[in-house]
Amino acid sequence: MTDPRIERLASLLADYSLGLREGQVVRIDSLDAGSPLVLALYGAALRAGALPYTNVGLSGLGETLLHQGTDEQLTYLSPIQWEELEQLDALVTIWSETNTRALSRVDPTRHAAYIAAQRKLSNRRWERISNGEMSWCGTLYPTNAHAQEAEMSLAEYEAFVYAACHVHEEDPAAHWRAVSTELQARADGLGAARELRIVGPDTDLRVGVEGRTWLAADGRYNMPDGEVFTSPLETETEGKIRYTFPAVYHGREVEDVRLRFEAGRVVQAEAARGNDYLQSLLEMDAGARVLGEVAFGLNYEIDRFTRNILFDEKIGGTMHLALGSGFPQAGGQNTSGLHWDMICDLRDDGEVYADGGLIWKAGRFLEEPVREVVESGVHG
């Protein structure tokens, strides 16, 4: 019958991530392929006393619009979409593609026009989320298409996804509460640092973080989750970095990205593959050459690159430094149309220093008072 891991993921999303309460209006967004999780989540929301409804799409319809629609149709936002957004208390996005490359051949300018129009809606959504008027969580339902990106069988990929969410065992909420405590302590500790120095293969980068707030990503906005992040000072990044994993933006991959920063800005950039695309994105606007985020990936159940940023940016033992827009809640001031997470694997030779003192080596923090709790939580 139903995979118990799906039921546990649904309860985790309803009760822990969103903390649904009686009378709250929650919309569940998914494609048809995510229906098993949609149904389980719908049930979990009903049990929480919330008022759930589903917003399920069919794979292929977006493609028809992108290929066939007029400019007016492409950029149309219906009054229905605007009106319902204002009434949501919570929203869940379940990514569940049946073909992750279905849009590869779409005319890029038409695709960009479509995304730009949709962004008006998502900007309003983020405004409501950051004002505390609604909650949001993004998650994934494993499909063959996502498994294929990860170069796994569906069964292997399911095991990977559910372990990353920690729903392969009983009481995942207890696990995430422990993670939350630990990540918050880590964020508080990092808040004292003025400068981080990241050292690794072809990497020696100094990032100013003084006065910025480190935030714990503990499974409320993403599931799985597991990172601490901030937005660095906009003018103080100095040195070079080499991103070991391919950097993916809107489905296009750029490999072996190397950047050199001076006074906060990228002054030199090259990539072994996709260099033109890298250069064009850096030219998007003035903020595209500035770091908007620096983060530690701390989910050690995620141990490999799977070409999906929901998972990749949380790989335990990595850091990611995103070009483009920063997070106002972290104190970030950089604005840009770009927010491009690029991941740096520090699990072999990486070292991170905070104000000159070594705090991280080979993908692990050296000291952490509550670390044992997490270790037993993650692996126990």
Partner: protein
């Protein structure tokens, strides 16, 4: 395969170009379940080609049952903001029935179902008001599934043939065929509009309905597809006699058969069903309007010849009449308000007569003077 794709394409094009006449800028809400995905894909392309903005509302299999089984009263009675926005904002609504199990709700307590129905009543009212005012073009159709085929005692292939034939989609030019039928229906509706009283006599049936001053509406594939009927809303206090419905009637996934009703002064005073009697009584008690006949109609689609257990088709069978308990359509002049609208079909193809103002006008399923 090629021919079935062809029929599906023709269905999409008839729904978009003929039934709902989608034009530039129209917001088109397509409301269905995942089984109808092939038709949704066809419609999406047609709507875009017509300059409209397609909007999808897709049910998740199992979710409606889950709500009916496990929901609290507050949850059952709640209308999602998107449902309301869709009813208020859409220019066009294409609803496609595509059940994967037509009996999924059979085990649900009828009172809970009634509660959910009542909650949707205000929305239905907005829908009908906008439709009557011409602000909303709405069509209901069916995408053939194994579940519906099973109810019809057919294979899926046989059922597909039946469905597409009923929609005249086996013709080269289905739109022309519907337009020509529509002209005939219109003449019949005008003629019936002059009559004051209809009397139906058949096996176990002798029912008189006042129709003076009411409007008869020809149904030519704009609001139902397939279609083929001419209906009105009888005068609320002028329905008298007994009627025995030949076919089982399903409502909200439940089957009732051998229904016999006695009317006096427009109201059901006695009701009995061979099967599903409890459910029948519960539905009659739903609200005040549920005991009244909101609609009386002649089924006129000769491509629908057999009973298949689905109202969309059964009520169109050429040679039948049907009567609906509950809400009337305001455009017919009917004034019954109810959360219920339950069509019950009576086969008149043998041993039956219909009189209009005491004149014999219909015998054994056909109008005698060639009106239809």
């Amino acid at each position: 395969m090629a021919s079935s794709t062809g029929r599906l394409g023709r269905l999409a094009s008839v729904l978009v170009d003929y039934s709902t006449r989608v034009g530039p800028g129209d917001l088109v809400c397509i409301d269905t379940g995942p089984a109808a995905a092939p038709l949704v894909h066809e419609l999406w392309g047609r709507v875009l080609a017509a300059g409209g903005h397609p909007h999808l509302r897709l049910d998740v299999e199992g979710a409606p049952e889950l709500l009916l089984r496990e929901g609290t009263d507050a949850q059952l009675g709640w209308i999602s903001p998107v449902r309301r926005a869709e009813v208020e904002r859409a220019d066009v609504r294409i609803a496609i029935e595509a059940d994967m199990n037509t009996r999924a709700n059979t085990g649900v307590e009828p009172e809970r179902q009634a509660h959910a129905e009542r909650a949707r009543e205000p929305l239905r009212r907005v829908h009908f008001a906008r439709a009557s005012a011409g602000d909303l073009r709405a069509v209901v159709t069916l995408y053939p599934t194994d579940a519906a085929a099973q109810d019809a005692d057919m294979s899926l292939m046989e059922y597909e043939d039946f469905v597409y034939r009923a929609g005249l989609l086996d013709r080269d030019d289905p739109v022309a065929a519907w337009e020509s039928l529509g002209e005939g229906y219109e003449r019949l509706a005008e003629w019936l509009g002059e009559r004051r009283e209809i009397r139906v006599v058949g096996d176990g049936t002798d029912l008189t309905l006042g129709v003076g001053g009411r409007t008869w509406i020809p149904c030519d594939g704009r609001e139902n597809f397939p279609d083929g009927e001419v209906f009105t809303g009888p005068v609320e206090t002028q329905v008298d006699g007994v009627v025995r419905f030949s076919y089982p009637a399903s409502y909200a996934g439940r089957r009732v058969s051998g229904v016999e009703l006695e009317f006096r002064g427009g109201e059901v005073v006695r009701a009995q069903a061979d099967e599903g009697n409890t459910f029948l009584q519960q539905m009659l008690a739903l609200d005040e309007g549920a005991r009244r006949a909101g609609e009386f109609s002649f089924g006129l689609n000769d491509a629908v010849t057999e009973f298949t257990g689905h109202t969309l088709f059964d009520e169109k069978i050429g040679g039948t009449v049907h009567l609906a308990l509950g809400a009337s359509y305001p455009e017919s002049g009917g004034k019954v308000e109810s959360a219920l609208h339950w069509d019950l079909v009576c086969d008149l193809r043998s041993g039956s007569e219909v009189y209009a103002d005491d004149e014999l006008v219909y015998r054994d399923g056909r109008f005698v003077d060639g009106l239809h």
